[in-house]
Symmetry: C2
Subunit: 145 residues, 2 copies
């Protein structure tokens, strides 16, 4: 597995070990990780800190041009909110661990010119499959379902 | 001005008085304010807590069905990120103070079936016009521009 997706997956696993939702992300600028993050619904009671959002938050305030040269790695296909954040900041490329357990707004991302790559990584799939089977109510809350 | 937009505008003004970006919001469920919030870029160094996001965050974890009966009031037309959050949670109605100084993703909201009402409120417009004139760099950072 690529180094940056590994960082996102490690964040996801850290979240699971804390009792949280195992989705993680990393914002990478020119080969340097600016921030990693994971879903914070359980840990912080947050409704907006999905993995991707937490990575953006942990990367801190960056000049607009930095986002436009960055790639967002995320273990799971980004929901509408995280897609919107990607579009807001003009992040040109998103690498997705898997979209088997949840398919987000990849079509919208591509329509707006974002390069989207889906790895269908077996470790990412297994992590979410197990979580969804074990905590269905929590999972549905997280995707507003 | 309607009570709920007044609450959003008060949050926006509070943000300005703290040196922050004057955009505020309120999430309202069946006539009850679940949470208000304002942009937190300056105050918390946050890149994801726009006014609408901060209101969602302050409302706390709600059952999915609650969002589907709620209205989001915001002093300014919602950007792509906040639009995505509205879509994620299935909030069916958004009332916007103004879209003269910034037009967000209202078309996408309407395409997805969200009811969008724009008030073009003079107080909301004046607040943003003055802020953008005084702090253009901060404003452009906030919209990834």
């Amino acid at each position: 597995m690529e180094h940056f997706m590994r960082a996102a997956l490690e964040a996801a696993r850290r979240s699971l070990s804390e009792g949280g939702i195992p989705i993680g992300a990393a914002l990478v600028h020119r080969g340097v990780i600016l921030g990693t993050g994971h879903n914070q619904r359980v840990q912080l009671g947050s409704t907006v800190l999905h993995g991707e959002m937490d990575a953006l938050e942990n990367a801190g305030r960056q000049p607009p041009g930095t986002y436009r040269e960055s790639t967002l790695y995320t273990t799971l296909s980004p929901c509408a909110m995280c897609t919107g954040a990607i579009l807001l900041y003009g992040i040109p490329r998103v690498v997705i661990g898997e979209n088997r357990t949840f398919q987000g707004e990849e079509t919208l991302l591509r329509e707006r010119g974002v390069e989207v790559e889906v790895l269908q990584d077996p470790e990412c799939i297994a992590l979410m499959e197990r979580f969804i089977a074990e905590r269905p109510t929590l999972w549905h809350e997280d995707i507003g379902d």
